[in-house]
Protein backbone atom coordinates (compact mmCIF):
# COMPACT_ATOMS: atom_id res chain seq x y z
CA UNK A 1 0.00 0.00 0.00
CA UNK A 2 2.89 2.29 0.83
CA UNK A 3 4.29 1.96 -2.70
CA UNK A 4 0.88 2.53 -4.30
CA UNK A 5 0.27 5.66 -2.24
CA UNK A 6 3.79 6.91 -3.04
CA UNK A 7 3.17 6.57 -6.79
CA UNK A 8 -0.23 8.27 -6.41
CA UNK A 9 1.38 11.04 -4.33
CA UNK A 10 3.97 11.57 -7.05
CA UNK A 11 1.37 11.69 -9.82
CA UNK A 12 -0.69 14.12 -7.77
CA UNK A 13 2.32 16.35 -7.08
CA UNK A 14 3.21 16.50 -10.76
CA UNK A 15 -0.38 17.17 -11.81
CA UNK A 16 -0.84 19.84 -9.13
CA UNK A 17 1.97 21.91 -10.64
CA UNK A 18 -0.47 22.80 -13.42
CA UNK A 19 -3.87 23.83 -12.07
CA UNK A 20 -5.17 24.71 -15.55
CA UNK A 21 -4.49 21.15 -16.61
CA UNK A 22 -6.44 19.75 -13.64
CA UNK A 23 -9.32 22.14 -14.31
CA UNK A 24 -9.48 21.15 -17.98
CA UNK A 25 -9.27 17.45 -17.04
CA UNK A 26 -12.26 17.86 -14.77
CA UNK A 27 -14.52 19.90 -17.05
CA UNK A 28 -13.49 18.70 -20.52
CA UNK A 29 -16.30 16.11 -20.95
CA UNK A 30 -18.86 18.64 -19.75
CA UNK A 31 -17.47 21.22 -22.19
CA UNK A 32 -17.70 18.66 -24.99
CA UNK A 33 -21.30 17.90 -24.05
CA UNK A 34 -22.19 21.58 -23.86
CA UNK A 35 -20.77 22.29 -27.32
CA UNK A 36 -21.27 19.13 -29.39
CA UNK A 37 -24.23 17.66 -27.49
CA UNK A 38 -26.19 20.91 -27.34
CA UNK A 39 -25.45 21.55 -31.03
CA UNK A 40 -26.80 18.16 -32.06
CA UNK A 41 -29.80 18.45 -29.73
CA UNK A 42 -30.62 21.84 -31.27
CA UNK A 43 -31.31 20.03 -34.55
CA UNK A 44 -34.36 18.68 -32.73
CA UNK A 45 -33.78 15.02 -33.56
CA UNK A 46 -34.46 12.20 -31.16
CA UNK A 47 -31.88 9.44 -31.26
CA UNK A 48 -33.43 6.50 -33.20
CA UNK A 49 -34.50 3.55 -31.08
CA UNK A 50 -34.05 5.33 -27.77
CA UNK A 51 -36.71 8.01 -27.70
CA UNK A 52 -34.33 10.44 -26.03
CA UNK A 53 -32.64 13.66 -27.12
CA UNK A 54 -28.99 13.76 -28.16
CA UNK A 55 -27.73 15.27 -24.88
CA UNK A 56 -29.07 12.31 -22.89
CA UNK A 57 -27.74 9.81 -25.42
CA UNK A 58 -24.32 11.45 -25.71
CA UNK A 59 -23.76 11.77 -21.95
CA UNK A 60 -22.44 8.19 -21.74
CA UNK A 61 -20.43 8.72 -24.93
CA UNK A 62 -18.70 11.76 -23.54
CA UNK A 63 -17.88 9.91 -20.30
CA UNK A 64 -16.39 7.05 -22.34
CA UNK A 65 -14.42 9.54 -24.42
CA UNK A 66 -13.09 11.14 -21.23
CA UNK A 67 -11.91 7.73 -19.94
CA UNK A 68 -10.19 7.14 -23.25
CA UNK A 69 -8.55 10.58 -23.25
CA UNK A 70 -7.34 10.52 -19.66
CA UNK A 71 -5.91 7.04 -20.24
CA UNK A 72 -3.95 8.06 -23.32
CA UNK A 73 -2.58 11.17 -21.55
CA UNK A 74 -1.50 9.11 -18.54
CA UNK A 75 0.21 6.54 -20.77
CA UNK A 76 1.97 9.34 -22.62
CA UNK A 77 3.56 10.38 -19.32
CA UNK A 78 5.82 7.31 -19.62
CA UNK A 79 7.62 9.20 -22.38
CA UNK A 80 7.98 12.23 -20.15
CA UNK A 81 9.39 10.01 -17.37
CA UNK A 82 11.80 8.43 -19.81
CA UNK A 83 12.96 11.82 -21.09
CA UNK A 84 13.51 13.00 -17.51
CA UNK A 85 15.51 9.84 -16.76
CA UNK A 86 13.29 9.24 -13.73
CA UNK A 87 11.57 6.24 -15.32
CA UNK A 88 14.59 3.97 -14.87
CA UNK A 89 15.40 5.35 -11.43
CA UNK A 90 11.82 4.64 -10.34
CA UNK A 91 12.21 1.03 -11.45
CA UNK A 92 14.81 0.68 -8.68
CA UNK A 93 12.42 1.99 -5.99
CA UNK A 94 10.99 -0.49 -3.49
CA UNK A 95 7.88 -1.56 -5.37
CA UNK A 96 6.74 -4.16 -7.84
CA UNK A 97 6.17 -3.35 -11.49
CA UNK A 98 2.44 -3.99 -10.89
CA UNK A 99 2.37 -1.40 -8.08
CA UNK A 100 4.02 1.11 -10.39
CA UNK A 101 1.35 0.58 -13.06
CA UNK A 102 -1.55 0.51 -10.59
CA UNK A 103 -0.34 3.58 -8.71
CA UNK A 104 -0.05 5.53 -11.96
CA UNK A 105 -3.57 4.42 -12.88
CA UNK A 106 -5.14 5.08 -9.47
CA UNK A 107 -4.49 8.81 -9.28
CA UNK A 108 -5.97 9.27 -12.72
CA UNK A 109 -8.96 7.14 -11.78
CA UNK A 110 -9.71 9.65 -9.05
CA UNK A 111 -9.58 12.44 -11.63
CA UNK A 112 -11.86 10.40 -13.92
CA UNK A 113 -14.39 9.92 -11.09
CA UNK A 114 -14.35 13.65 -10.31
CA UNK A 115 -14.78 14.38 -14.00
CA UNK A 116 -17.76 11.98 -14.23
CA UNK A 117 -19.41 13.45 -11.14
CA UNK A 118 -19.15 17.02 -12.46
CA UNK A 119 -20.38 16.01 -15.90
CA UNK A 120 -23.38 14.01 -14.68
CA UNK A 121 -24.46 16.60 -12.09
CA UNK A 122 -24.20 19.53 -14.49
CA UNK A 123 -25.76 17.58 -17.38
CA UNK A 124 -28.74 17.05 -15.10
CA UNK A 125 -28.82 20.62 -13.79
CA UNK A 126 -27.99 22.57 -16.97
CA UNK A 127 -29.23 20.34 -19.79
CA UNK A 128 -32.10 18.64 -18.02
CA UNK A 129 -30.80 15.15 -18.71
CA UNK A 130 -32.88 12.70 -16.70
CA UNK A 131 -30.32 10.69 -14.73
CA UNK A 132 -31.12 7.23 -13.39
CA UNK A 133 -29.67 7.90 -9.91
CA UNK A 134 -29.75 4.26 -8.69
CA UNK A 135 -27.30 3.55 -11.52
CA UNK A 136 -24.61 5.79 -9.98
CA UNK A 137 -22.61 2.92 -8.35
CA UNK A 138 -22.53 1.12 -11.71
CA UNK A 139 -21.55 4.39 -13.37
CA UNK A 140 -18.64 4.81 -10.91
CA UNK A 141 -17.53 1.22 -11.51
CA UNK A 142 -17.71 1.67 -15.30
CA UNK A 143 -15.67 4.88 -15.15
CA UNK A 144 -13.14 3.27 -12.78
CA UNK A 145 -12.64 0.01 -14.65
CA UNK A 146 -13.00 1.73 -18.01
CA UNK A 147 -10.29 4.31 -17.39
CA UNK A 148 -7.99 1.64 -15.91
CA UNK A 149 -8.58 -0.66 -18.87
CA UNK A 150 -7.79 2.00 -21.44
CA UNK A 151 -4.75 3.16 -19.46
CA UNK A 152 -3.33 -0.39 -19.37
CA UNK A 153 -4.13 -0.75 -23.08
CA UNK A 154 -2.29 2.47 -23.97
CA UNK A 155 0.55 1.65 -21.57
CA UNK A 156 1.36 -1.44 -23.65
CA UNK A 157 2.08 0.77 -26.65
CA UNK A 158 3.80 3.52 -24.65
CA UNK A 159 6.16 0.94 -23.16
CA UNK A 160 6.86 -0.96 -26.37
CA UNK A 161 7.13 2.04 -28.70
CA UNK A 162 10.22 4.00 -27.74
CA UNK A 163 9.46 7.03 -29.92
CA UNK A 164 7.13 9.74 -28.76
CA UNK A 165 6.13 10.71 -32.32
CA UNK A 166 5.35 7.10 -33.22
CA UNK A 167 3.17 6.79 -30.12
CA UNK A 168 1.32 9.97 -31.07
CA UNK A 169 0.63 8.52 -34.54
CA UNK A 170 -0.70 5.32 -32.94
CA UNK A 171 -3.00 7.22 -30.58
CA UNK A 172 -4.37 9.28 -33.50
CA UNK A 173 -5.31 6.06 -35.31
CA UNK A 174 -6.81 4.63 -32.12
CA UNK A 175 -8.89 7.75 -31.55
CA UNK A 176 -10.29 7.52 -35.06
CA UNK A 177 -10.98 3.78 -35.05
CA UNK A 178 -12.13 3.24 -31.47
CA UNK A 179 -14.25 6.37 -31.06
CA UNK A 180 -16.06 6.37 -34.39
CA UNK A 181 -16.54 2.60 -34.82
CA UNK A 182 -18.51 2.44 -31.59
CA UNK A 183 -21.77 3.43 -29.95
CA UNK A 184 -20.20 6.61 -28.59
CA UNK A 185 -21.70 9.16 -31.01
CA UNK A 186 -24.64 7.22 -32.48
CA UNK A 187 -26.56 4.02 -31.89
CA UNK A 188 -25.05 1.12 -33.80
CA UNK A 189 -28.30 -0.68 -34.68
CA UNK A 190 -29.02 1.33 -37.88
CA UNK A 191 -25.40 0.94 -39.13
CA UNK A 192 -24.42 -1.32 -42.11
CA UNK A 193 -23.72 -4.90 -40.97
CA UNK A 194 -19.94 -4.80 -41.40
CA UNK A 195 -19.61 -1.49 -39.55
CA UNK A 196 -21.96 -2.77 -36.86
CA UNK A 197 -19.85 -5.94 -36.38
CA UNK A 198 -16.71 -3.85 -35.89
CA UNK A 199 -18.53 -1.63 -33.39
CA UNK A 200 -19.80 -4.65 -31.44
CA UNK A 201 -16.26 -6.00 -31.15
CA UNK A 202 -14.94 -2.61 -29.98
CA UNK A 203 -14.35 -2.51 -26.19
CA UNK A 204 -15.33 1.15 -26.08
CA UNK A 205 -18.82 0.12 -27.22
CA UNK A 206 -18.96 -2.25 -24.23
CA UNK A 207 -17.92 0.50 -21.83
CA UNK A 208 -20.21 3.17 -23.32
CA UNK A 209 -23.19 0.78 -23.33
CA UNK A 210 -22.65 0.08 -19.61
CA UNK A 211 -22.30 3.83 -18.94
CA UNK A 212 -25.46 4.55 -20.94
CA UNK A 213 -27.40 1.92 -19.02
CA UNK A 214 -26.08 3.32 -15.73
CA UNK A 215 -26.86 6.96 -16.53
CA UNK A 216 -30.08 6.96 -18.59
CA UNK A 217 -31.23 3.34 -18.46
CA UNK A 218 -30.86 2.42 -22.14
CA UNK A 219 -30.17 -1.26 -22.90
CA UNK A 220 -31.20 -4.73 -21.78
CA UNK A 221 -29.67 -5.77 -18.43
CA UNK A 222 -28.62 -9.19 -19.79
CA UNK A 223 -26.64 -7.81 -22.75
CA UNK A 224 -25.19 -5.03 -20.56
CA UNK A 225 -23.97 -7.70 -18.11
CA UNK A 226 -22.22 -9.54 -20.94
CA UNK A 227 -20.57 -6.31 -22.11
CA UNK A 228 -19.49 -5.47 -18.54
CA UNK A 229 -17.86 -8.88 -18.11
CA UNK A 230 -16.23 -8.59 -21.53
CA UNK A 231 -14.80 -5.18 -20.60
CA UNK A 232 -13.49 -6.51 -17.27
CA UNK A 233 -11.77 -9.29 -19.25
CA UNK A 234 -10.31 -6.70 -21.63
CA UNK A 235 -8.97 -4.75 -18.63
CA UNK A 236 -7.40 -7.87 -17.11
CA UNK A 237 -5.71 -8.85 -20.39
CA UNK A 238 -4.52 -5.27 -20.97
CA UNK A 239 -3.07 -5.15 -17.42
CA UNK A 240 -1.23 -8.47 -17.90
CA UNK A 241 0.16 -7.34 -21.24
CA UNK A 242 1.20 -3.92 -19.89
CA UNK A 243 2.98 -5.68 -17.03
CA UNK A 244 4.78 -7.86 -19.54
CA UNK A 245 5.72 -4.77 -21.56
CA UNK A 246 7.05 -3.05 -18.44
CA UNK A 247 9.13 -6.12 -17.57
CA UNK A 248 10.48 -6.08 -21.13
CA UNK A 249 12.08 -2.74 -20.27
CA UNK A 250 14.63 -4.86 -18.47
Amino acid sequence: MNALSAVMFREGKIRSTNVTFIFWDLVYPLAYLLVFGVGMTAMGLDVPGTGMDYNAFFLAGVLGMASFGIASNTAWSFFMDRDNGIFYEMLTYPMTRAQYLLGKALFNLLIALGQAAITVLLASALLGVSIRWPGVPLLAAAVFVGTAGWFFFYAIFALIIRRNDAFNAVTSVFYFVFLFASSMFYPIEPLPAAFRSIALANPITWQVDVLRYATVGVGAPSSIAVEAVAFAGFTAVAFGTALWALSREQ
Binding site: R10, T17, N84, G85, Y88, T92, Y93, M95
Partner: protein
Amino acid sequence: MQHVIDVHDLIKTFQRRRQPPIRAVDGLSFSVRHGSIFGLLGPNGAGKTTTLRVLTTLSRPTAGEVLVEGFDVVKQAVEVRRRISVVIQETAAELFLTVRDNLSTFGRFHGLTPAVIRSRTADALEQFELGPDANRKVMDLSGGFRRRVQVAKVFMVDTPVVFLDEFSTGMDPLLKRAVMGRLREEAARGRTIVLTTQILSEAEELCDDILILDRGRQAARGDVHSLKLLSSGLYDVSITFDRLPEGLEADIASYGAVRHRITQNTVVVTLKEHESSILDVVSALARKGHVLRLEINGATLEDIFVELTQKSRKEAR
Protein backbone atom coordinates in the same frame (compact mmCIF):
# COMPACT_ATOMS: atom_id res chain seq x y z
CA MET B 1 26.90 -10.89 7.00
CA GLN B 2 30.36 -10.80 5.50
CA HIS B 3 29.42 -10.12 1.89
CA VAL B 4 26.72 -7.67 0.91
CA ILE B 5 26.88 -8.57 -2.77
CA ASP B 6 27.59 -11.98 -4.26
CA VAL B 7 27.81 -12.46 -8.01
CA HIS B 8 28.35 -15.94 -9.42
CA ASP B 9 29.00 -16.61 -13.11
CA LEU B 10 26.94 -13.66 -14.26
CA ILE B 11 26.22 -13.63 -17.97
CA LYS B 12 24.19 -10.95 -19.70
CA THR B 13 23.53 -11.31 -23.39
CA PHE B 14 21.64 -8.84 -25.55
CA GLN B 15 19.78 -10.25 -28.55
CA ARG B 16 19.79 -8.14 -31.70
CA ARG B 17 17.69 -8.46 -34.83
CA ARG B 18 19.52 -10.18 -37.68
CA GLN B 19 22.82 -9.78 -35.87
CA PRO B 20 24.72 -12.04 -33.51
CA PRO B 21 23.93 -11.46 -29.83
CA ILE B 22 26.23 -9.34 -27.72
CA ARG B 23 27.61 -10.83 -24.52
CA ALA B 24 28.00 -7.69 -22.39
CA VAL B 25 28.93 -9.59 -19.22
CA ASP B 26 30.71 -12.88 -19.64
CA GLY B 27 30.89 -15.18 -16.64
CA LEU B 28 31.65 -12.55 -14.01
CA SER B 29 32.01 -13.56 -10.34
CA PHE B 30 32.80 -11.29 -7.41
CA SER B 31 31.65 -10.34 -3.97
CA VAL B 32 31.59 -7.04 -2.11
CA ARG B 33 32.41 -6.66 1.57
CA HIS B 34 30.06 -4.97 4.02
CA GLY B 35 30.96 -1.30 4.52
CA SER B 36 33.39 -1.10 1.65
CA ILE B 37 33.60 1.36 -1.22
CA PHE B 38 33.74 -0.86 -4.26
CA GLY B 39 34.72 0.48 -7.66
CA LEU B 40 33.73 -1.06 -10.98
CA LEU B 41 36.17 0.27 -13.55
CA GLY B 42 36.63 -0.39 -17.21
CA PRO B 43 36.70 1.21 -20.65
CA ASN B 44 33.49 2.04 -22.51
CA GLY B 45 31.55 -1.13 -23.27
CA ALA B 46 33.37 -3.15 -20.60
CA GLY B 47 30.09 -4.16 -18.94
CA LYS B 48 30.15 -1.86 -15.89
CA THR B 49 26.74 -0.31 -16.36
CA THR B 50 25.21 -3.63 -17.44
CA THR B 51 26.53 -5.24 -14.26
CA LEU B 52 25.17 -2.35 -12.22
CA ARG B 53 21.79 -2.64 -13.94
CA VAL B 54 21.60 -6.30 -12.98
CA LEU B 55 22.61 -5.53 -9.38
CA THR B 56 19.94 -2.84 -9.13
CA THR B 57 17.17 -5.08 -10.62
CA LEU B 58 16.87 -2.96 -13.75
CA SER B 59 18.04 -5.80 -15.92
CA ARG B 60 17.66 -9.58 -15.60
CA PRO B 61 20.74 -11.76 -15.88
CA THR B 62 20.82 -14.20 -18.80
CA ALA B 63 22.56 -16.71 -16.52
CA GLY B 64 24.22 -16.81 -13.14
CA GLU B 65 23.19 -15.84 -9.64
CA VAL B 66 23.28 -12.35 -8.14
CA LEU B 67 22.50 -11.73 -4.47
CA VAL B 68 22.25 -8.36 -2.74
CA GLU B 69 22.12 -8.60 1.05
CA GLY B 70 21.32 -12.29 0.54
CA PHE B 71 18.32 -11.60 -1.74
CA ASP B 72 18.17 -12.80 -5.32
CA VAL B 73 17.85 -9.90 -7.77
CA VAL B 74 15.36 -11.81 -9.93
CA LYS B 75 13.29 -13.86 -7.47
CA GLN B 76 13.30 -11.30 -4.63
CA ALA B 77 13.63 -8.07 -6.58
CA VAL B 78 11.46 -5.98 -4.24
CA GLU B 79 13.48 -7.10 -1.20
CA VAL B 80 16.61 -6.01 -3.06
CA ARG B 81 15.02 -2.65 -3.98
CA ARG B 82 14.16 -2.04 -0.32
CA ARG B 83 17.86 -2.23 0.49
CA ILE B 84 19.35 -0.13 -2.27
CA SER B 85 19.40 3.43 -3.51
CA VAL B 86 20.66 4.17 -6.97
CA VAL B 87 22.13 7.07 -8.91
CA ILE B 88 21.81 6.01 -12.54
CA GLN B 89 24.18 7.23 -15.22
CA GLU B 90 21.64 9.51 -16.89
CA THR B 91 20.44 12.60 -15.07
CA ALA B 92 17.16 11.58 -13.43
CA ALA B 93 14.89 14.06 -11.71
CA GLU B 94 11.26 15.08 -11.57
CA LEU B 95 11.58 18.16 -13.74
CA PHE B 96 8.15 19.60 -12.93
CA LEU B 97 8.65 19.32 -9.18
CA THR B 98 10.66 21.61 -6.93
CA VAL B 99 13.98 20.50 -5.50
CA ARG B 100 12.30 20.02 -2.11
CA ASP B 101 9.50 17.93 -3.61
CA ASN B 102 12.01 15.79 -5.48
CA LEU B 103 13.69 14.91 -2.19
CA SER B 104 10.47 14.38 -0.25
CA THR B 105 8.89 12.23 -2.98
CA PHE B 106 11.94 9.99 -2.95
CA GLY B 107 11.73 9.70 0.83
CA ARG B 108 8.08 8.75 0.56
CA PHE B 109 8.88 5.91 -1.83
CA HIS B 110 11.30 4.56 0.77
CA GLY B 111 8.63 4.68 3.47
CA LEU B 112 10.02 7.56 5.57
CA THR B 113 7.58 9.33 7.90
CA PRO B 114 6.69 12.98 7.16
CA ALA B 115 8.75 14.21 10.12
CA VAL B 116 11.84 12.27 9.01
CA ILE B 117 11.32 13.45 5.43
CA ARG B 118 11.26 17.08 6.62
CA SER B 119 14.42 16.83 8.68
CA ARG B 120 16.38 14.85 6.09
CA THR B 121 15.27 17.13 3.29
CA ALA B 122 16.61 20.09 5.29
CA ASP B 123 19.93 18.24 5.83
CA ALA B 124 20.25 17.26 2.16
CA LEU B 125 19.43 20.79 0.99
CA GLU B 126 22.14 22.18 3.24
CA GLN B 127 24.76 19.54 2.45
CA PHE B 128 24.30 19.89 -1.30
CA GLU B 129 24.00 23.69 -1.14
CA LEU B 130 20.53 23.49 -2.63
CA GLY B 131 18.83 25.64 0.02
CA PRO B 132 18.44 28.79 -2.11
CA ASP B 133 16.91 26.67 -4.90
CA ALA B 134 14.73 24.50 -2.67
CA ASN B 135 11.47 25.89 -4.03
CA ARG B 136 12.55 26.14 -7.67
CA LYS B 137 11.37 23.58 -10.17
CA VAL B 138 14.18 21.28 -11.28
CA MET B 139 13.39 22.11 -14.93
CA ASP B 140 14.69 25.63 -14.23
CA LEU B 141 18.05 24.40 -12.92
CA SER B 142 21.28 23.71 -14.83
CA GLY B 143 22.44 20.17 -15.61
CA GLY B 144 24.96 20.25 -12.75
CA PHE B 145 22.28 21.23 -10.24
CA ARG B 146 19.94 18.53 -11.52
CA ARG B 147 22.68 15.97 -10.94
CA ARG B 148 23.14 17.42 -7.46
CA VAL B 149 19.46 16.83 -6.69
CA GLN B 150 19.77 13.27 -8.00
CA VAL B 151 22.78 12.45 -5.83
CA ALA B 152 21.30 14.21 -2.78
CA LYS B 153 18.39 11.76 -2.84
CA VAL B 154 20.51 8.78 -1.83
CA PHE B 155 21.43 10.61 1.37
CA MET B 156 17.75 10.93 2.27
CA VAL B 157 17.52 7.23 3.07
CA ASP B 158 19.45 4.62 5.05
CA THR B 159 19.52 1.81 2.53
CA PRO B 160 22.45 -0.48 3.33
CA VAL B 161 23.72 -0.42 -0.26
CA VAL B 162 24.22 2.60 -2.52
CA PHE B 163 24.92 2.30 -6.23
CA LEU B 164 26.42 5.25 -8.08
CA ASP B 165 26.94 5.15 -11.82
CA GLU B 166 29.35 7.94 -12.79
CA PHE B 167 28.06 10.03 -9.89
CA SER B 168 30.38 13.01 -10.33
CA THR B 169 29.31 13.85 -13.89
CA GLY B 170 28.59 17.58 -14.07
CA MET B 171 29.66 18.30 -10.47
CA ASP B 172 32.08 21.08 -9.68
CA PRO B 173 35.31 20.01 -7.92
CA LEU B 174 34.33 21.42 -4.53
CA LEU B 175 31.02 19.61 -4.41
CA LYS B 176 32.61 16.44 -5.75
CA ARG B 177 35.11 16.55 -2.92
CA ALA B 178 32.32 17.08 -0.39
CA VAL B 179 30.32 14.17 -1.80
CA MET B 180 33.38 11.92 -1.73
CA GLY B 181 33.89 12.85 1.91
CA ARG B 182 30.26 12.05 2.65
CA LEU B 183 30.55 8.70 0.87
CA ARG B 184 33.54 7.82 3.06
CA GLU B 185 31.49 8.72 6.15
CA GLU B 186 28.59 6.58 4.96
CA ALA B 187 30.93 3.64 4.38
CA ALA B 188 32.40 4.14 7.86
CA ARG B 189 28.83 3.96 9.22
CA GLY B 190 28.47 0.56 7.55
CA ARG B 191 26.81 1.40 4.24
CA THR B 192 28.28 -0.32 1.23
CA ILE B 193 28.99 1.93 -1.74
CA VAL B 194 29.30 0.50 -5.24
CA LEU B 195 30.37 2.94 -7.91
CA THR B 196 31.44 3.03 -11.50
CA THR B 197 33.62 5.80 -12.77
CA GLN B 198 35.72 6.77 -15.76
CA ILE B 199 37.70 9.19 -13.58
CA LEU B 200 40.40 6.93 -12.28
CA SER B 201 41.84 9.38 -9.79
CA GLU B 202 38.39 9.40 -8.18
CA ALA B 203 38.45 5.62 -7.80
CA GLU B 204 42.05 5.69 -6.59
CA GLU B 205 41.15 8.15 -3.88
CA LEU B 206 37.82 6.67 -2.86
CA CYS B 207 37.69 2.92 -3.42
CA ASP B 208 39.13 0.36 -1.07
CA ASP B 209 38.26 -2.47 -3.43
CA ILE B 210 38.40 -2.27 -7.21
CA LEU B 211 37.31 -4.57 -10.01
CA ILE B 212 38.61 -3.74 -13.46
CA LEU B 213 36.37 -5.08 -16.20
CA ASP B 214 37.13 -5.50 -19.84
CA ARG B 215 34.81 -7.05 -22.41
CA GLY B 216 32.53 -8.26 -19.69
CA ARG B 217 35.21 -10.14 -17.84
CA GLN B 218 37.39 -9.48 -14.83
CA ALA B 219 40.70 -7.98 -15.92
CA ALA B 220 42.00 -7.39 -12.36
CA ARG B 221 40.75 -7.18 -8.80
CA GLY B 222 42.08 -5.80 -5.53
CA ASP B 223 42.77 -2.63 -3.62
CA VAL B 224 44.77 0.16 -5.25
CA HIS B 225 48.04 -1.03 -3.69
CA SER B 226 47.70 -4.62 -4.82
CA LEU B 227 46.63 -3.50 -8.28
CA LYS B 228 49.72 -1.33 -8.52
CA LEU B 229 51.83 -4.39 -7.85
CA LEU B 230 50.37 -5.93 -11.00
CA SER B 231 52.15 -3.27 -12.87
CA SER B 232 55.58 -3.11 -11.23
CA GLY B 233 58.15 -1.48 -13.45
CA LEU B 234 55.71 1.10 -14.76
CA TYR B 235 56.83 4.70 -14.19
CA ASP B 236 55.49 8.10 -15.09
CA VAL B 237 58.33 10.51 -15.91
CA SER B 238 57.41 14.19 -16.16
CA ILE B 239 60.03 16.63 -17.50
CA THR B 240 59.47 20.34 -18.00
CA PHE B 241 61.96 22.02 -20.35
CA ASP B 242 62.47 25.76 -20.76
CA ARG B 243 61.83 25.11 -24.48
CA LEU B 244 60.62 21.85 -25.98
CA PRO B 245 63.64 20.17 -27.70
CA GLU B 246 63.32 19.31 -31.38
CA GLY B 247 62.89 15.64 -32.28
CA LEU B 248 61.78 14.77 -28.76
CA GLU B 249 58.82 12.66 -29.91
CA ALA B 250 61.07 10.46 -32.08
CA ASP B 251 63.43 9.94 -29.12
CA ILE B 252 60.55 8.99 -26.86
CA ALA B 253 59.35 6.48 -29.44
CA SER B 254 62.80 4.88 -29.54
CA TYR B 255 62.65 4.23 -25.79
CA GLY B 256 59.50 2.14 -26.26
CA ALA B 257 57.27 4.35 -24.10
CA VAL B 258 53.93 2.81 -23.15
CA ARG B 259 52.44 6.22 -23.89
CA HIS B 260 53.37 9.86 -23.75
CA ARG B 261 51.75 13.26 -23.65
CA ILE B 262 53.27 16.64 -24.52
CA THR B 263 51.67 19.79 -23.15
CA GLN B 264 53.48 23.04 -24.00
CA ASN B 265 57.02 22.55 -22.59
CA THR B 266 56.22 19.48 -20.50
CA VAL B 267 56.45 15.89 -21.57
CA VAL B 268 54.91 13.07 -19.52
CA VAL B 269 56.18 9.64 -20.54
CA THR B 270 55.01 6.31 -19.15
CA LEU B 271 57.80 3.75 -19.31
CA LYS B 272 57.90 0.10 -18.42
CA GLU B 273 61.51 -0.45 -17.51
CA HIS B 274 63.61 -2.12 -14.86
CA GLU B 275 64.41 0.26 -12.01
CA SER B 276 68.09 0.39 -12.91
CA SER B 277 67.54 1.40 -16.50
CA ILE B 278 64.77 3.95 -15.88
CA LEU B 279 67.35 6.48 -14.69
CA ASP B 280 69.37 6.00 -17.88
CA VAL B 281 66.29 6.83 -19.95
CA VAL B 282 65.50 9.82 -17.77
CA SER B 283 69.02 11.21 -17.99
CA ALA B 284 69.06 10.72 -21.77
CA LEU B 285 65.81 12.64 -22.07
CA ALA B 286 67.02 15.31 -19.67
CA ARG B 287 70.12 15.92 -21.80
CA LYS B 288 67.93 17.03 -24.72
CA GLY B 289 67.35 20.48 -23.28
CA HIS B 290 67.40 22.74 -20.27
CA VAL B 291 65.29 21.01 -17.60
CA LEU B 292 63.21 23.20 -15.27
CA ARG B 293 61.45 20.39 -13.40
CA LEU B 294 61.75 16.62 -13.22
CA GLU B 295 59.45 14.14 -11.51
CA ILE B 296 59.38 10.33 -11.44
CA ASN B 297 56.35 8.52 -10.03
CA GLY B 298 55.27 4.94 -9.70
CA ALA B 299 52.29 3.65 -11.62
CA THR B 300 48.92 5.31 -11.17
CA LEU B 301 45.64 3.49 -11.38
CA GLU B 302 45.30 4.95 -14.86
CA ASP B 303 48.56 3.29 -15.95
CA ILE B 304 47.41 -0.05 -14.62
CA PHE B 305 44.00 0.38 -16.18
CA VAL B 306 45.46 1.15 -19.60
CA GLU B 307 48.01 -1.65 -19.41
CA LEU B 308 45.52 -4.28 -18.27
CA THR B 309 42.88 -3.41 -20.81
CA GLN B 310 45.41 -3.27 -23.65
CA LYS B 311 46.81 -6.63 -22.54
CA SER B 312 43.35 -8.15 -22.41
CA ARG B 313 42.61 -6.89 -25.94
CA LYS B 314 45.85 -8.32 -27.29
CA GLU B 315 44.99 -11.69 -25.73
CA ALA B 316 41.52 -11.56 -27.25
CA ARG B 317 43.04 -11.14 -30.71
